[in-house]
Structures are given as C-alpha cells and as structure tokens.
C-alpha cells in the first residue's frame, strides 16, 4: 500500500506553492532582462524549463527577490494570495510604466479530501513545466510589441492578499497602482492542479 502511495505522482498545496514561486523567480528575472531594465552585463544564464533564462546577479536584486518570494511561498501554501503584481516604474518620476499581474486562482485538484489544507493534485510535473515553458516563451516574445522603456527604471513586487493577513515585519501595506492610458494583454495560463496562474501584462500606450 505504502509503495503504491509513494509511486503515485502527487502535489500538495505546499508543493504547488513551490512550483509557482519558482515560476515567479524565473519569470521576474526574465522580465527584468527582456525589458532591458538593468544592464545585460549583470545577468547570468541558466537552464530551466528547457529554456535559457537570464538571472540577475546583482546582490541587491537577488536578496530582494529571495525575501519577497519566501514570504510569497508561505502565503501561497495557505491560499491567501489573490494576485502578485510586478510593477515597473520610472525611477525619477515614479510613474508606473508597466505592471505584470500573476493572478492566482485556487483549484480543487483531485478533490478527494474534504480538508482544504490536505488537497492534492496528480498532475505530472513535466506537464506543468511544459505549460510554464510556454508562458516563459510568451514573456520573451512580448518585447516585440511592448513599448521601449527609455528611462532609468526600477521595479517592485506587490502581493494582493486576503483582508485578514497579518503584516509581517519589514512589510508595508500599499495602494493599488494605476497606469495611465493602459493596454492589457493576457498571456497563457498554467495550472498545478491546485493553483491556476494567469499572467497579464498591463502597459502604458505610447501616445
């Protein structure tokens, strides 16, 4: 009995959160590189999802992402996140130029158990990763139609959580961002069986 359990492919809520956070890590780094926000020299290439992805090696950026994503994973595992927004702003004028939304939708997975914390999904990891790869490819392709970010930029990650979420130390509550004259394009979605992730890019139309 136990062996059959072990061989069965099964993703828990925690595992699903790990997969999504991994996607966010590679996705955000890829956006930083593809949109030319930081100098290309500060990136190293790695292989992931069968793609070459450029990861920032700036210690400040990596530690920022590490901190944010660790907390994100914790919340995701408790299904407390509606949406994660990566906001790209002009460093001087603070104007929001672009907003990448990663929307989280809880799913029931196999739905075998009534306890929401013990949900599992039997979706194969390779299938999930293939879906993620397709999204990552689309992120790279966005360069062809997104407007040029012709200024010094910075980025921030905003996490849209439930109302009852405790604010941890070193975290702040902020307001929503608003892009003037915006256009939204939805990319592909992927699902771990427990979370469905939609990726949407909102950008400022150049006049």
């Amino acid at each position: 009995m136990s062996t059959s359990q072990a061989t069965k492919n099964c993703i828990t809520l925690k595992g699903s959160a790990t997969i999504i956070v991994e996607y966010l890590k590679y996705g955000i780094n890829s956006i930083l590189f593809q949109r030319g926000i930081y100098p290309a020299e500060n990136f190293d290439s790695t292989q992931q999802y069968g793609l070459t992805i450029l990861m920032s090696k700036d210690p400040k950026i990596t530690s920022f992402l590490q901190n944010v994503l660790t907390q994100t994973e914790e919340w995701l595992a408790k299904n407390m996140i509606n949406k994660i927004s990566m906001v790209i702003t002009n460093a001087h004028t603070k104007e929001v130029l672009e907003c990448w939304d990663f929307k989280m939708q809880a799913e029931v997975g196999d739905g075998e158990t009534g306890d929401p914390t013990k949900l599992t999904s039997s979706k194969e990891l390779s299938r999930i990763q293939n879906e993620i790869r397709d999204v990552m490819r689309q992120i790279s392709a966005t360069v062809s139609y997104l407007p040029l970010l012709d200024c010094i930029c910075t980025f921030d990650v905003m996490i849209h959580t439930l109302q009852n979420t405790e604010i941890p130390a070193q975290w702040d509550e902020t307001g929503a961002v608003f892009i003037q004259n915006a256009q939204a394009v939805q990319l592909r979605s992927f699902s771990t069986g427990l979370h469905k992730v939609d990726t949407v890019v909102n950008y400022k139309m150049s006049s």
């Binding site: 949109r35 030319g36 926000i37 930081y38 100098p39 290309a40 020299e41 500060n42 400040k60 950026i61 920022f64 901190n67 944010v68 907390q71 509606n82 949406k83 460093a91 907003c99 939304d101 929307k103 939708q105 392709a141 360069v143 062809s144 139609y145 997104l146 407007p147 040029l148 970010l149 012709d150 010094i152 930029c153 910075t154 980025f155 921030d156 990650v157 905003m158 849209h160 959580t161 439930l162 979420t165 070193q170 975290w171 702040d172 509550e173 902020t174 307001g175 929503a176 608003f178 915006a182 256009q183 939204a184 394009v185 939805q186 990319l187 949407v200 909102n202 950008y203 139309m205 150049s206």
Partner: protein, 526 residues
C-alpha cells in the same frame, strides 16, 4: 399565394428568432445564475480583470447596454505598437470580464430604477439628490470594476527594502532595436577595397609628434590641418585652400577640432589656450585659457569643448559662458593625447602618456563634477592616443597603444571589462569605426606605415592600405563616411575611398522597391 405564405413565415421566423426564440446569451444565463445565488459571494469569487482601458475616470453612461458595448470595443483593440512589424498578438478576451461588468451594470441600473420609482411616488424634490447620489455610487462601482475590484477587501503588501534602480548610466539595450540602424556586415567578408589612395595632398611642415592632433574633417566637408605654425582649410568639395591663421615663431598649433555642425573650429595651442575660430568669416571669436602646458587634444560636445593638456588635466569649457571653465578632470599624470565622446555623449574617454585609458561618466552628476573616472584601464603598455567608440554599440570603446604596446583593445564601459585585445604588430596612431560596414580602420607606424582595415568583432584583417613612407599620425573620416583622410609624417595627406557604400546593395534595394510596385500594380488589375 404560397409564396406569400412563405414570405410571411420567413418574417415570423426572423422576428421570433430576434426577440424571443433564440438561445439566451451567455451573460443572461450567468446573470440568472448569480441572481439565484447570493450576490455578494458571486462578486468576490469572480475575479475582475485589471483592465484599465476602461478607466474609472470615464463618466457613467446612461444606457447600460450601450456602455458595455463600447467597453468591449475598447478593450479588445489589438495593441497597435508593434515595432518593426513584429509578431501579431491577439489579446485574450478572458482578460476583460464582460459578464461581471455587465452584471454589475445591469444590476445597479435596475436597482436605481426601482429606487427612483419609489422616490418619485414619495417626493419629487428628493429625486435629483437621490439620482446624483446614485451616480456617485455608480462611478465608484465602475472604477472598482475597472481596476482594483480584484482585491476588494484585500490587502496589498510589499516588501520595505525595495529593489535598486538601474544605474544612472544604463541605457536600455533594446533601444537599438527601436531606433539605430546597425551597418550590415558584408556576407562574403571580401569586398573590394581600393588599396591605392584616391588623392594625395602635399602637407609640408606637418609636425611629426605622436601627442598632437593636427587634422580634422568637418561636417561641412572642410578639412582643417595644421602645418607648422599655420592652419589651413581645404574644401574637399571644391578643392579650395584657405589659410586661417599664422602663429608667431616658436608658437605652434597642437590640436584642432571642428564643432559637430557649423564652421566653428577649436584650436589648442602650445601656450595652453584654446581658441575658437569662425571659419566662414576667418575671425577669432575668443580665447579660453585653463592649462599650464600645451593643449594636445580637443573634443566638442555641442556647446562644450573639452581640452586635454600636457599638464595631465582635462578642462571642460562652456563656450557660451563668460566663466568658461566648468569642470576639470584630473585623472592623468602625464600628457593627455586622446579624447573622444561616446556616440550618445554619455561617456568621455581619455588616453594619456601615462598608459592609462580613463572613461568619465557624464550622467547623473553633470559635466565636470566627476572627481574619479568611471573606469581606469591600465592594460596598455604604452601611451594611448588612438580612441574610437563603436557607432552601433555605444558602450564599446576601442583603444590602441603606442610602440611599446602595439595592441588594439576593446572595452565594455558598462561593466569595465576587456572584450578583446589584438596585437597589431605596429604602433597604433589612430582608430576609426566605419559607419557603413562593421569594420574599423587603424593607422600604424613602423614598419609598414600602413592603414589596416579590420572586420569587427572578429578582427580579421581585411586590407592593408600602404603608401605612406613614414608613420601615419592622424586619420579623419568624411561626413558621408565613405572616405578616410590620413596624415603621415612623410608630409602627405592621402585620401582613401575605402568605405564607399556597396553599389550592389543599393541596387538591390532599388530592385526590391520596383518589384513591390509591380506586384501592387498586378493586384489592382486582378
């Protein structure tokens, strides 16, 4: 008669279909479903898309049916910005939540109506006030739907220690894709390069000094050259020669530089002053001091002249201001003999007799306030006089060393790394990048006194242009980028037509355009 029956039948069918019989649209079903359940829960379950194209500022529209229509139109327009006609992207309609938007609109509207009816019965005066209150609520509702409705009642959290902004000197590398045309490298690698000079001019008394810059070619097609104590202007179009100025015995010209556009020539002399001359009127405009020794290098950046001197300093002069000295850069201990601004005017490269190449950053703190160079490259083993910026990669700098070094080195000034180093086997006196080809030309001294054309970035030798009988001191490029003039210590100036645009390539372009015209013509006939 039967045909009339048929017609009336048909009409009936059409009418029926239009009004009652057709299947209920999806939003209607959804509306019914949501009405059955509790309204509040449906709202929170449905995720409202963050599509700000129908923004909260939009005034509320009176007819709900119409308003959803216009929204749908607005939000589904494909992004028009497709630079270079790239991939066509069809936005996903799932991003715009029509059902919810419609539901909220319709729901609100019916509530409003019934309210208004009640109010109307009770008191006519209150009606207006009530209506405006409703308007306000509705505005709020629309703005919620439009943007932040997603997180209704939720919190938006962010980490306190923000990610850093990109460095000030950073430019988006994608800019190249949007704007700049990079020269196409020739396919075969073997294009015809004439190896004999097109023209040879006599240049008596040309000073054979490695540390001076005695020739420049202006945008108006005039070559300025200093011969001994005189400055001559040679009009490359007409061939006219004009003498600009003559110095007294013992004084001589050390550097010449044309303003980017126009007829203003800056002359650095042996007493450490920088003179500005208006060449159309043959008149000296002003003299700017600032150095204790001769000025061997000059470079313009719009209204700014930067001069490098034997005293090791670089001074920025604002030619418009009374107090012209706006900044001093002290990065060299010996004579500064090479000065070049990057094509985007963000970096100034300086080379000196102390074997250093310094790169100064302009961005952020303004001209001349930098006390330390952004990068100090000390890899050269001899004086650096030859400096050139790559026109299609604005952060790539090429530098060439003197007799003891003989290397051409390429630097990435973004991160300060050495990209490539090539031993040219002869002292490097001057470097120029071509604008038409991905090539550069270098001027050399002993043993062959040649000009060498290299392919960049492979650095394969394309051609040697020989002819000078003594070292080549200076090179300048014509305004159209096709011709290079070289000044040798053998007291000759030679013009080389080595970067003439490929006639075949221009023919091809012409062919393509004529073909395109034909096909359009054919289409119109069909």
């Amino acid at each position: 008669m039967s045909q009339f029956n048929f017609v009336s039948d048909l009409q009936n069918a059409l009418i029926k279909d239009g009004e009652t019989c057709g299947p209920a649209p999806r939003w209607k079903k959804k509306l019914e479903a949501s009405l059955n359940g509790s309204v509040n829960t449906t709202r929170s379950v449905l995720s409202v898309s963050y599509n700000t194209s129908f923004s909260g500022v939009q005034p509320p529209v009176k007819t709900p049916g119409k308003s959803t229509d216009t929204k749908a139109k607005k939000s589904t327009t494909t992004p028009t910005k497709t630079p270079g006609g790239g991939d066509r992207f069809i936005p996903n309609r799932a991003a715009t939540n029509f059902e919810l938007a419609h539901f909220l609109q319709v729901n609100k509207d019916t509530a409003e109506k019934s309210d208004e009816e009640n109010e109307g019965k009770n008191s006519g005066n209150d009606n207006n006030v009530q209506a405006s209150a409703h308007k306000g609520e509705r505005q709020k509702l629309i703005s919620e739907v439009a943007q932040i409705g997603d997180n209704k009642g939720g919190r938006i959290l962010c980490y306190q220690n923000k990610a850093p902004a990109a460095p000030e000197t950073h430019t988006n590398p994608l800019k190249v894709v949007y704007a700049l045309k990079t020269p196409i490298s020739t396919k075969s690698g073997s294009r015809y390069i004439p190896t004999t000079p097109e023209r040879i001019l006599d240049a008596p008394d040309f000073i054979n000094d490695y540390y001076l810059n005695l020739m420049d070619w202006s945008g108006d097609n005039i070559v300025a050259v200093a011969l001994g104590s005189c400055v001559y202007l040679w009009n490359a179009a007409s061939g006219n020669i004009e003498q600009l100025s003559e110095y007294e015995e013992g004084d001589y010209v050390c550097s010449l530089s044309w303003i980017q556009e126009g007829q203003i020539l800056a002359i650095g002399n042996s007493s450490g002053a920088v003179e500005l001359w208006d060449c159309s009127k043959v008149k000296r405009l002003r003299v700017m001091d600032g150095h204790s020794a001769r000025v061997g290098s000059l470079v313009w950046n719009s209204f700014l002249v930067s001069s490098g001197s034997r005293d090791g300093s670089i001074v920025h002069h604002d030619v418009r201001a009374r107090n012209h000295k706006v900044g001093t850069l002290n990065g060299h201990t010996l004579e500064v003999c090479g000065l070049k601004w990057s094509p985007d005017f963000k970096y100034l490269a300086s080379g000196g007799n102390d074997n250093l190449v310094n790169v100064w950053s302009l961005a952020g703190n303004g001209v001349g306030t930098a006390t330390e160079p952004l990068h100090k490259f000390n890899e050269h083993q001899a004086a650096v006089r030859a400096l050139a910026w790559c026109p299609w990669q604005p952060t790539t700098l090429a530098s060439g060393g003197g007799t003891a070094d003989r290397c051409i080195k390429f630097w990435n000034v973004c991160n300060g790394t050495l990209i490539k180093s090539v031993d040219s086997k002869s002292q490097v006196c001057s470097l120029l990048f071509s604008r038409h080809y991905k090539e550069l030309i270098s001027a050399h001294g002993f043993a062959n006194n040649q000009l060498t054309i290299w392919k960049y970035p492979t650095m394969i030798k394309q051609a040697d242009l020989t002819g000078h009988t003594s070292r080549v001191l200076q090179m300048a490029m014509s305004p159209d980028g096709s011709t290079v003039i070289s000044a040798g210590a053998d007291e000759t100036l030679r013009l080389w037509n080595c970067f003439a645009p490929d006639p075949l390539a221009s023919k091809k372009v012409a062919n393509v355009s004529s073909n395109a015209k034909k096909s359009v013509f054919r289409q119109s006939i069909r």
